[in-house]
């Protein structure tokens, strides 16, 4: 037998509680529950039992178990009883066709290496619990996988789904500092492999888009914030694609060595060969993004303009050099 207070004992206690509340047709008073669930016998006092039972009820409800409180008092008292409604508890009996299970499997595996991998696998297992699946392997020929490496993903997702106002530190582009933002979340979307939050920025009194990777530190819920509604016509992806405007709006001039800078050559809208180097006109939208890309080419690509991107590249190269020659990083 396991330790009476360890996590295994707690699972055992909670499972016994679920079983007896699901089994009963009439609501059970607390005194009865204490007698039926043996682990409650370990409670040293009435108060200790009460505290334990209150916490257990909360935890079961957090798992989505529909534990209800009903009045069972007779004429003389107002005692309450507890039970779990079978129909409310159980997943409706739905049978899925093999091709439906195949796409559901694909949808579930989309999250296989993301923070939601657990819930995604659990969900599929629930749907498959009843049926014996035939060959469930998909022959669809495509396999999508999502990542959620941004630490802000979990709290932001919970705030979006639960419609709760949040506050967080946000790094602005370039070398800008971190400032605090308070936002009513509307939507969360992955776009071009990055997660974005859309919502109403209470500091700026305007709708805004935030890149999750730029959220700095903790995301905290604003207590007692007034409820808000998500605009009925809000489409997160549309707002992101127009706001972030990954549509390149500017053009950089870079020079690349012969046969080098192939990705840049491919995107270039103009090129002009002069000896060892070719000059390219490259459309871009994000200074840091272009500077990252160009820095990766080392000595094979040089930014001629705009100067701010050129400076960013030089700063990166100097940083890399000093980090690898014993200088301070």
């Amino acid at each position: 037998m396991s330790s009476p207070t360890g996590p295994a004992a707690k699972t055992e206690r909670l499972l016994n509680l679920v079983l007896c509340l699901l089994y009963t047709r009439r609501p059970l008073p607390k005194s009865r529950i204490r007698a039926v669930v043996p682990q409650y016998g370990d409670a040293v006092s009435d108060e200790a039992f009460d505290r334990m039972f209150e916490r257990d009820k909360d935890e079961l409800r957090e798992l989505g178990i529909p534990l209800v409180t009903e009045d069972i008092g007779g004429a003389w008292d107002d005692e309450v009883g507890y039970r779990i409604d079978q129909r409310e508890y159980a997943l409706p009996d739905i049978s899925f066709e093999p091709d439906e299970l195949a796409v559901l499997g694909l949808a579930s595996r989309t999250w296989a290496h993301a923070s939601l991998a657990g819930p995604a696998a659990q969900a599929l297992r629930k749907l498959k619990a009843a049926g014996i699946e035939r060959d469930g392997d998909s022959l669809i020929g495509i396999e999508p996988r999502l990542g959620t490496s941004e630490p802000a993903f979990e709290p932001v997702k919970n705030a979006v789904v639960g419609q709760r106002t949040i506050t967080f530190g946000y790094r602005t582009g370039g070398q800008g500092g971190v400032n605090s933002r308070t936002v009513q979340p509307w939507g969360l979307a992955s776009w071009h492999g990055r997660w974005y939050l859309t919502g109403f920025d209470l500091d700026r009194q305007a709708p805004r888009v935030f890149r999750l990777s730029r959220i700095d530190g903790d995301v905290t819920e604003v207590k007692k914030a007034p409820a808000y509604a998500v605009p009925a016509d809000h489409r997160a992806q549309e707002m992101i694609s127009t706001t972030v405007g990954e549509q390149p709006t500017r053009t950089a001039t870079v020079k690349v060595r012969a046969d080098r800078g192939n990705s840049l050559r491919r995107r270039a809208t103009g090129s002009n060969e002069s000896g060892e180097w070719t000059e390219l006109e490259v459309p871009f939208s994000d200074d840091d993004g272009l500077a990252d890309e160009v820095s990766g080419y080392g000595a094979d690509v040089v930014v001629l303009s705009p100067p701010e991107v050129r400076d960013l590249v030089v700063a990166r190269l100097r940083g890399a050099l000093s980090a690898h020659t014993g200088g301070a990083a």
């Binding site: 295994a8 699972t11 909670l14 016994n16 079983l19 007896c20 089994y23 009963t24 798992l63 409310e88 159980a90 997943l91 439906e100 299970l101 796409v103 579930s108 989309t110 999250w111 939601l116 995604a120 659990q122 969900a123 599929l124 629930k126 498959k128 619990a129 009843a130 495509i142 396999e143 999508p144 996988r145 999502l146 490496s149 997702k157 789904v161 939507g187 979307a189 992955s190 071009h192 492999g193 992806q237 080098r260 192939n262 990705s263 820095s295 990766g296 080419y297 080392g298 000595a299 050129r310 400076d311 030089v314 700063a315 990166r316 190269l317 100097r318 890399a320 980090a323 690898h324 990083a329």
Partner: protein, 327 residues
């Protein structure tokens, strides 16, 4: 992270109906399909054996797993799984909607049917899930995607003109396509590459041209697809072991690349080891990181990073008159 008592309860409440519907399933197979170890499954079964709606023998769950076969009886009260939780419903709904947006997918009908049934089963959760969106159809031309899928399905060889950014080369090669995958909204074609004589993964936005050839493109029997869930890169044991020191701003690197070990210091910086055969991509990464990442060892790699950065700076210095001089 160890499983909490409530996480375990949630897992057991899903596991019991699953096992009840598969009476007599092989213990090893059950553990594998449930994604847990055999030891964990046995520990779980021992716990179930102690639980019931009362403590009389006929009120307790009966779990048997002698002879390696699992039987669970007297578990009628929890023989149906608990409704889908919020995150559970969300993952499936968002995943299905992402699939539905993939251009030219033939399974649209199955996706729509599955989505309708799921909505029926989840109610309000489905509505909340609508606020999370995933665009995976971006960044690839519909024609290229359609041609690639057609080649996979019809076992046709393709000819690719492909840019290899880590070596900064444009290459021509014939490939027997095996699968089209989307990782973090990026499309890849995987297949047997006749140039490399091995399976290779091609980023579709780097495919400059794809021609479906009128040639059978069945890959060799021993061609192995990589395990997507193991991450984007699969290192080999004889690759060079590199140790990096990452400043907090570069911590994403350890999420993005497969590492052998990660140690996080109190200030958020990380010491990471990883294996790689080719250090060119690593040099590129370190130039990009601009000092937020440092090669601790081996010294040869640190050396080439610093030489490359020096050469690149020289290329800027040689350009005597930068327009609009900054700092």
């Amino acid at each position: 992270m160890p499983e909490t008592a409530t996480d375990r309860l949630a897992r057991l409440l899903t596991m019991v109906p699953w096992l009840v519907a598969r009476q007599g399933i092989d213990l090893d197979q059950a553990a594998a399909e449930l994604g847990i170890t055999v030891e964990q499954l046995e520990t779980d079964l021992r716990l179930l054996y102690l639980c019931g709606y009362g403590q009389m023998p006929d009120e307790l769950i009966d779990a048997q797993w002698e002879n390696g076969r699992v039987f669970i009886t007297n578990a009628d009260t929890i023989a149906r799984p608990l409704r889908l939780g919020r995150d559970e419903a969300l993952t499936l709904m968002v995943g299905l909607r992402a699939l539905a947006a993939v251009p030219g997918l033939g399974e649209r009908d199955a996706i729509e049917r599955a989505m309708a049934k799921l909505e029926q089963a989840t109610g309000a959760s489905a509505e909340a899930a609508a606020r999370v969106e995933v665009a995976i159809s971006e960044g690839v031309e519909a024609d290229l995607l359609a041609d690639a899928r057609r080649a996979v399905e019809g076992h046709r060889r393709v000819h690719l003109r492909y840019l290899v950014p880590s070596r900064d080369e444009a290459t021509e090669r014939d490939v027997d396509p095996m699968r089209v995958v989307n990782l973090d909204s990026r499309w890849y074609l995987e297949g047997w590459c006749h140039l490399a004589q091995d399976t290779r993964t091609f980023r579709m936005d780097r495919i400059a041209r794809l021609d479906v050839l009128d040639v059978d493109g069945t890959p060799p029997d021993d061609a192995q697809l990589r395990d997507l869930d193991a991450g984007a890169f699969t290192p080999r044991p004889d690759d060079t072991l590199v140790t990096l020191l990452l400043q907090p701003g570069a911590a994403w690197v350890s999420d993005y690349y497969p590492t052998e070990s990660v140690q996080t210091a109190a200030d958020g910086s990380q010491t990471v080891t990883l294996r790689t055969a080719d250090t060119l991509w690593l040099r590129r990464l370190l130039w990009r990181l601009g000092g937020r990442g440092t090669v601790v060892s081996p010294p040869e790699v640190a050396q080439v990073v610093s030489e490359g950065a020096q050469a690149a700076l020289a290329a800027y210095g040689a350009d005597a008159d930068p327009p609009g001089t900054g700092g």
